[in-house]
C-alpha cells in the first residue's frame, strides 16, 4: 500500500516530515517497508512551451526547438523526439540539470548548440505503467494548467515522498489513506481535518435496489450523476493518483480510484443509459453463464459468484470488475455510482476462480466496514462537483438489509494491566481510546468502548488491550521474568537421542547435511526404487515437479548432495542426515519416521601415513559404534537387500529384535554412474524409531576368575559366513566363551579351491571358578567339532 506524504498533508494544517511519519507508523504497528523520494534523481527541470520548430540542417531526425520557459529569452534545444509540436508544454532539463540517466550540459548536436534537453516521463523517473500511450510516445506532454518556468518537481508533485506500508490483515482499513492519516495524527497529536462531503437525502430504501443474497451483500448504495463531463483531471489531482501508483485516466475514473485510496472503499460507475429497467439487483449467477468484463475477457461464471444485474442482464461481477455492457465511455452522459459492501470470502473465491484480481477485489476480500459505504459515496460526490465531472442528484438510493454491528466492549484497567504486566491508570487508558476517536463510557471500574466503524478488527476486550499498548508505546513495557510453578512436562527421549546421534556422527568425522523433505518422483527411479502407484505422498500444489513428493527415504537427497560435492572436486565425502521420512496411511496423518542416512566414499586420497581405503567395514564400524552407544539390543546383518540401489554382493539388511530397521552396503555402480560419482560409495539408512528407547544400564559384577585365550584355525567352505561361525561357537560354548576375535581370513595357495582358512582367538572364562587347562581344551574341541559337523570345518 503506497501512501503519499503530499496526499496526507491535505488532512493537516501543516507540512509533514516523512521520517517522523515512518517512525510513528512503525511504533503504532503499521510496518513501513520502503520509503521513496520520488524526485531525488532529478533537478533543475522546468516546464516550457515549444514556440517554434525547425528541421536540423544536417540531421533528418533532429529538430531545433525554441522553448519558452517564462523568461524573455527563449532557449534553443535540439531534440530527436518525434512527438513534439508547436504549442506543446514540455519538461525542460536546463544546462546543469540532472535527469534519470545522467547530467545535462551545454551540447552541440551536429553543429547546432542545444541549451538543455526535453524530457520523457522515464527521464523524470515516472514509471512506464503510470503513463498513458500518448505520454509514452516520447517527450512527456504537460497539462495546460502548468505554468511556464515552474519547477517540474513541484508541477508533477515529484517532490513527494512515498511510504510503502506492509499492512497486516487486521488493518485492512489502512488501505484508505485517510485512516492512515488518523494513525499519523495519533503519533504526532495533530488535528485531523474532516473530509469535505456532499450530504444527501435518502430517497427510497428498497424500490430501486433489490438485494437477493443479503448474506453476501449487506449494503448497497447508488446515486445518479447527470451531465457527465469526462475530461482529464486537474494536474494536482492526477499527481496524487499517480504518486500512489495508479495511472490517471479521466476525472470520473480518477475520482473512484481516489476514493478507493482515500477511504479504502472501492466504488463503481455504470453508464446509466446502458442500464435497463430502472433497477439494480444483487444476486448470484448461474453455472455456465458467460459474462464479458471491462477488460474485454469473456468469463465463465459459477453459481456462487455474486453479480450486479439490471432488470434484464448482468452488469458487473460484484466487487471484482464491471461489465463491458455498462462501461462508461466518451459518450456517457449519466452515470450510476455504486458504493456497496460485499462478503469478503465470496469476493476472494470469485477472484480466485476467475484468476482476476483487481484493486477493488483485493480490498473487498480483506473485509470492509459496511458503515463506510455512505461516506465513500458522499466523498465521491463532493469530488465530482469539485472536479466538475457532473451534476450529482440530491438523493440517493439504498438497501441496507444487514446492519453492521459495531460492538460496545467492556474492559477494566485491571484487566488491561493484568495482561500487560503494567500499571497504566484508568485516565490514561481512557485517553488512549479517546485519541482513537472511540466512544468511551465509564462506570466506576468499567470502561465501555465503542470503536470507530472502520475498525472492524476491534471485536473483544483483548483487542482493546492491544490498542492501549500500541498507543501507549511498546517501548514503555518493562522487562520481567515469569514466576510460577515448576514445569512437569518431561522431555521425550527422541529429542536428546537426536542430539547424541549427531554428536557421535561428528566424532566419526561425518558432516551433517539438511535436505528438502520433498523430492522428485524421478529421484526414486534413479535410485532403483519401484514406483508404487498412488500411495506415495504427493503435494497437490508443489512449486515444481522436482519438489512434489514427500520423501520416503533419505537416500535420494543425500546422494544428490554427495554428487554435487563430488562434482565440485570433493573426493573424501563423509556426510549424514538425520530427519523424517513420510509414508501415507489410509486414515489420518501420514506416518513420520526418523531416519539416519550415512554416506562415505572410498577416499583414494594419498596421505603421508599411508592409504587406507574406506570400505563396507568402515561404514559398518561407524554403525556398530553408534549402536553400541544408543542401543542395548543385539543387531543382526542379513546379506542382500531388495533394493536395486545396492551392490548385490556387498549389502545387507540390519535387523533388531526381528525387525528390519535399515540397510547397509556399497551403492550399485550403475546408480553411482547416474550421479556422476566415480568412486566406490557406501551408504546406510537406518530407521531409529525402534531404537528410540533409552537403554537401561545395570552393573554386572566383574569376573573374579582368570580367563584363557586360545587360537583356533580351520578351513571352511568359502561361502560360510563369519556370522554363522560366531553363532555356532556361542551355541557350543556352554556360556564359557566371553569373547571371540577373528584375526585372519585366507584364500589361495595351499587352500583347497572353494575353501577359506579362518583363524579365531577365543577367550574362555567361567564366572564361578578358574577353568583348568583340560576343561578349556575340552571346550575348544567341542567347538571345533560343532563347526566341523555343521559347516564342514576342518582343523588346519
Amino acid at each position: 500500500m503506497k501512501v503519499s506524504i503530499k496526499w496526507l498533508e491535505q488532512y493537516f494544517d501543516q507540512q509533514l516530515d516523512s521520517n517522523t511519519i515512518e517512525h510513528d507508523l512503525t511504533k503504532l504497528g503499521l510496518e513501513v517497508e520502503d520509503k521513496i523520494n520520488l524526485g531525488d534523481k532529478i533537478s533543475k527541470i522546468v516546464a516550457g512551451r515549444i514556440e517554434a520548430l525547425s528541421k536540423h540542417p544536417d540531421a533528418d531526425k533532429l529538430q531545433i526547438c525554441s522553448i519558452n520557459i517564462g523568461t524573455k529569452e527563449h532557449l534553443q534545444i535540439v531534440t530527436g523526439a518525434q512527438n513534439v509540436y508547436i504549442g506543446m508544454k514540455v519538461p525542460v532539463a536546463l544546462v546543469g540539470s540532472k535527469v534519470v540517466g545522467g547530467d545535462i550540459g551545454l551540447s552541440k548536436l551536429r553543429g547546432i548548440e542545444s541549451y538543455g534537453m526535453l524530457c520523457s516521463g522515464a527521464e523524470l523517473g515516472i514509471e512506464n505503467s503510470l503513463l498513458s500511450e500518448k505520454e509514452k510516445e516520447g517527450i512527456l506532454p504537460l497539462a495546460e494548467d502548468i505554468e511556464l518556468g515552474q519547477d517540474i518537481k513541484e508541477a508533477l508533485a515529484l517532490d513527494d515522498v512515498i511510504i510503502e506500508l506492509g499492512l497486516t490483515p487486521n488493518r485492512a482499513d489502512c488501505y484508505g489513506i485517510y485512516n492512515v492519516a488518523k494513525e499519523v495524527s495519533l503519533g504526532q497529536s495533530l488535528k485531523l481535518k474532516k473530509l469535505d462531503l456532499v450530504k444527501s437525502i435518502i430517497k427510497d430504501n428498497t424500490k430501486d435496489i433489490e438485494i437477493i443474497r443479503t448474506d453476501l451483500c449487506p449494503r448497497y448504495i447508488s446515486r445518479i450523476v447527470k451531465n457527465v463531463n469526462i475530461k482529464p483531471s486537474p494536474v494536482w489531482f492526477a499527481n496524487l493518483i499517480r504518486n500512489v501508483g495508479i495511472r490517471p485516466i479521466n476525472n470520473l475514473v480518477d475520482i473512484t480510484n481516489y476514493v478507493m485510496f482515500e477511504l479504502g472503499h472501492p466504488m463503481h460507475a455504470f453508464d446509466l443509459d446502458k442500464l435497463e429497467g430502472n433497477k439494480i439487483i444483487v444476486d448470484t449467477g448461474n453455472k455456465g453463464e458467460k459474462f464479458i468484463t471491462l477488460d474485454g475477457v469473456e468469463r465463465e461464471l459459477t453459481e456462487d459468484m455474486l453479480l450486479i444485474k439490471d432488470a434484464n442482464k448482468n452488469i458487473a461481477l460484484a466487487g471484482v470488475m464491471g461489465g463491458a455492457n455498462s462501461e462508461v465511455d466518451d459518450n456517457t452522459s449519466s452515470i450510476l455510482l455504486e458504493a456497496a459492501s460485499f462478503n469478503s470470502a465470496c469476493i476472494r473465491k470469485t477472484s480466485r476462480k476467475l484468476g482476476l484480481r483487481s484493486e477493488a477485489s483485493s480490498r473487498f476480500e480483506r473485509g470492509l466496514s459496511a458503515d463506510n459505504c455512505l461516506l465513500a459515496m458522499e466523498r465521491a460526490c463532493y469530488l465530482i462537483e469539485l472536479l466538475e465531472a457532473g451534476k450529482v442528484e440530491e438523493s440517493y438510493q439504498e438497501s441496507y438489509p444487514v446492519k453492521q454491528e459495531i460492538p460496545t466492549i467492556t474492559c477494566t484497567a485491571k484487566y488491561i494491566n493484568g495482561i500487560l504486566g503494567m500499571n497504566i491508570s484508568q485516565e490514561e487508558i481512557i485517553g488512549v481510546f479517546k485519541s482513537l476517536n472511540f466512544k468511551v463510557e465509564v462506570l466506576a471500574e468499567e470502561i465501555k468502548v465503542t470503536p470507530e466503524a472502520h475498525r472492524i478488527d476491534i471485536q473483544s476486550k483483548i483487542d482493546l488491550v492491544e490498542e492501549v499498548v500500541r498507543v501507549y508505546g511498546y517501548d514503555r513495557i518493562p522487562s520481567t521474568l515469569p514466576q510460577g510453578a515448576t514445569n512437569t512436562l518431561a522431555e521425550e527421549y527422541t529429542i536428546s537421542l537426536k542430539e547424541s546421534i549427531k554428536n557421535q556422527m561428528v566424532a566419526e568425522g561425518l558432516s551433517e547435511i539438511i535436505t528438502y523433505s520433498f523430492i522428485d518422483n524421478k529421484d526414486y527411479e534413479s535410485i532403483g526404487m519401484e514406483y508404487q502407484g498412488d500411495d506415495r505422498l504427493k503435494i497437490i500444489n508443489p512449486l515444481s515437479e522436482k519438489q512434489s513428493y514427500m520423501r520416503e527415504k533419505l537416500l535420494p537427497g543425500i546422494l544428490d548432495i554427495a554428487s554435487r560435492n563430488y562434482k565440485r572436486q570433493r573426493k573424501n565425502i563423509r556426510i549424514f542426515e538425520l530427519g523424517n521420512v513420510y509414508t501415507g496411511r489410509d486414515q489420518g496423518l501420514p506416518e513420520e519416521n526418523l531416519n539416519l542416512g550415512i554416506l562415505i566414499t572410498e577416499n583414494k586420497i594419498k596421505e603421508v601415513h599411508g592409504l587406507e581405503l574406506n570400505d563396507f567395514y568402515t561404514l559398518k564400524g561407524i554403525l556398530e559404534r553408534l549402536l553400541a552407544k544408543i542401543s542395548d539390543s543385539s543387531i543382526a546383518y542379513l546379506p542382500g537387500t531388495e533394493r536395486k540401489a545396492f551392490h548385490p554382493g556387498r549389502s545387507g539388511q540390519i535387523e533388531v529384535k526381528g525387525d528390519i530397521i535399515g540397510e547397509i552396503g556399497e551403492l550399485h555402480p550403475q546408480i553411482l554412474d547416474k550421479y556422476d560419482i566415480k568412486e566406490k560409495t557406501y551408504y546406510l539408512e537406518l530407521n531409529l524409531d525402534k531404537l528410540a528407547i533409552k537403554p537401561v544400564t545395570i552393573y554386572s559384577q566383574i569376573a573374579k576368575f582368570p580367563f584363557v585365550e586360545r587360537d583356533m584355525a580351520f578351513v571352511v567352505p568359502q561361502e560360510k559366513s563369519y556370522g554363522e561361525m560366531i553363532e555356532l561357537i556361542k551355541e557350543a560354548s556352554d556360556n564359557k566363551v566371553i569373547g571371540t576375535r577373528i584375526f585372519d581370513i585366507y584364500e589361495g595357495q595351499q587352500i583347497e579351491d572353494g575353501y577359506k582358512s579362518v583363524a579365531f582367538s577365543i577367550t574362555y572364562q567361567d564366572k564361578d571358578k578358574t577353568l583348568t587347562d583340560d576343561e578349556v581344551t575340552k571346550l575348544h574341541e567341542i567347538i571345533l567339532n560343532t563347526l566341523a559337523q555343521k559347516i564342514g570345518a576342518k582343523l588346519r
Binding site: T26, G29, E31, T168, P169, N170, E365, R366, G418, I419, L420, G421, M422, I462, D463, E466, V469, Y474, D475, I477, P478, S479, T480, L481, P482, Q483, G484, A485, N487, T488, L489, E491, I495, E499, V506, E508, G509, S511, E512, I513, I514, T515, Y516, S517, F518, L537, I540, N541, P542, Q547, R564, N565, R570, I573, I575, N580, Y582, L589, P590, E592
Partner: protein, 363 residues
C-alpha cells in the same frame, strides 16, 4: 693425597689422635675436592666405574678408612667419625648424580636417533561438523532448558485444523494468505509454522499448568528465492500459566537475544499482527554489525528483525480448554535460518541447503 692419608692413618696412635685429627680433616678435604673435580669431569659411564673402584671398591679408599674406623675405640670414634662420614657421603652422592646424568644422556642420545617430524598431520580422519542450523537450534534449546522449558516436537505434516483453525485462523481468514501453504489433501498440510505444537501440547497438558515448552522443527511455505526457502526451520516457544504478562514476554525475549548475541544487545518490540496472539509484537535486535550506526545489513535502521511474538489469544486458550480469565500466556516463533544467517554472516539462505562440504566444514 690418598697415600699421605693412608700413611697418616697407619701411623695414627690413640694418644696422637687429637693432634692429628685436624691434619686429617684438611687432607680429607683436599682429597674430596680432587675427587669431586674428577667426578665433575666424567664424560662416560665407563670412567665412572674407575672412580667407583678407587673409592668404594673392595680395596677402595673409603672402604679402607672405614676399616680404620672399626679399629678405633668407642670414645675416639666421634672425633673422626663425622669427618670421614661426610667425606664418604658427599663423594657417593656426587658420583651417583653424575652417573644418573650420564645414563640419561646416553639414553637420550639413543632416542634422538629415533626422531620424528612432529609437525606432520595426526592420524585418523578429521572431525565432522554439525549443520549450522543444528548448532543454532541446539543452542536455543539449551538456552531455554536452563530456565525450565521442556523441548517438545510436533508433526511436520499437520491437519489443517491444528495448523490453522486451532490458531484462530478459520477457513477464508485473510491471514491464510500470509503463509502460502502446501497441501497433501484438503485437510492435510505441510505445517506452515511450528505453532500447531502449541495446540497439541496444550491438549496434552490440559488442565495442568504451566505449559512451558520450546518446539523446534521444519516448516514449509510456497516461497523460493534468495531470502526464502520452501522448507525452513523455526523454534516455537509457549508459556501458559497464571499471571503471565506481556512484560514477562519482553523479559524472556531479552534473555534469549542476549544469550544468543551477547549481553550488549538490545531489543525493540513493534506492534504487529498474528491471528493467534494479541497483543502481538515483531521483535528486532540491535544491529551488532554497525552498533546501530546504520549499515547495509540492517538496511540503515540499526535494527534487525528476528522473531514474532505475542500474548496467546484468548480464543486459542479457550479452544484448548483453558479459561482465558484465569490463565494467560505468551508465545513466540523464530526462524532458525534467520538467526544462523545473522550469527554467522551468511548472506544467501540457499547456502544452507546446498550442503557444500566447504561451507559445512566452517562450523
Amino acid at each position: 693425597m690418598i697415600k699421605e692419608i693412608n700413611t697418616l692413618l697407619e701411623e695414627l696412635q690413640p694418644d696422637t689422635l687429637k693432634e692429628k685429627a685436624k691434619q686429617l680433616e684438611d687432607m680429607l678435604e683436599t682429597e674430596k675436592l680432587e675427587a669431586l673435580k674428577l667426578i665433575e669431569e666424567l664424560s662416560n659411564i665407563e670412567e665412572s666405574k674407575e672412580i667407583q673402584n678407587k673409592y668404594f671398591g673392595k680395596k677402595g679408599f673409603v672402604t679402607k678408612i672405614m676399616k680404620y674406623m672399626g679399629k678405633m675405640s668407642n670414645e675416639d670414634k666421634p672425633l673422626l667419625g663425622k669427618i670421614i662420614h661426610d667425606f664418604k657421603v658427599e663423594i657417593e652422592n656426587n658420583l651417583k648424580n653424575k652417573v644418573g646424568h650420564l645414563e640419561s644422556l646416553a639414553i637420550n642420545e639413543k632416542l634422538l636417533a629415533e626422531k620424528i617430524d612432529i609437525t606432520l598431520p595426526g592420524k585418523g580422519g578429521k572431525i565432522g561438523h554439525k549443520h549450522p542450523l543444528t548448532l543454532v537450534e541446539e543452542e536455543i534449546k539449551e538456552i531455554f532448558r536452563r530456565i525450565g522449558f521442556t523441548v517438545a516436537e510436533g508433526y511436520e505434516i499437520e491437519e489443517d485444523y491444528f495448523n490453522f483453525e486451532r490458531l484462530n485462523i478459520p477457513k477464508e481468514h485473510p491471514a491464510r494468505e500470509m503463509q502460502d501453504t502446501f497441501y497433501l489433501s484438503e485437510d492435510i498440510v505441510l505445517r506452515t509454522h511450528t505453532s500447531p505444537v502449541q495446540a497439541r501440547i496444550m491438549d496434552k497438558m490440559h488442565p495442568q499448568l504451566p505449559v512451558k515448552i520450546v518446539a523446534p522443527g521444519k516448516v514449509f511455505r510456497r516461497d523460493d528465492d534468495s531470502t526464502h526457502s520452501p522448507m525452513f526451520h523455526q523454534i516455537e516457544g509457549l508459556l501458559v500459566d497464571k499471571n503471565i504478562t506481556f512484560s514477562d514476554l519482553k523479559g524472556i525475549l531479552l534473555y534469549l537475544v542476549q544469550a544468543i548475541f551477547g549481553k550488549d544487545r538490545k531489543i525493540r518490540l513493534r506492534p504487529s499482527y498474528f491471528p493467534f496472539t494479541e497483543p502481538s509484537a515483531e521483535v528486532d535486535v540491535s544491529c551488532g554489525n554497525c552498533n546501530q550506526e546504520g549499515c547495509r545489513m540492517c538496511s540503515y535502521t540499526g535494527w534487525l528483525e528476528i522473531l514474532g511474538s505475542g500474548m496467546v489469544h484468548p480464543r486459542v486458550l479457550e479452544m484448548a480448554g483453558y479459561d482465558p480469565e484465569e490463565v494467560t500466556g505468551f508465545a513466540f516463533g523464530l526462524g532458525i535460518e534467520r538467526i544462523a544467517m545473522l550469527k554467522y554472516g551468511i548472506d544467501d539462505i540457499r547456502l544452507l541447503y546446498e550442503n557444500d562440504q566447504r561451507f559445512l566444514e566452517q562450523f
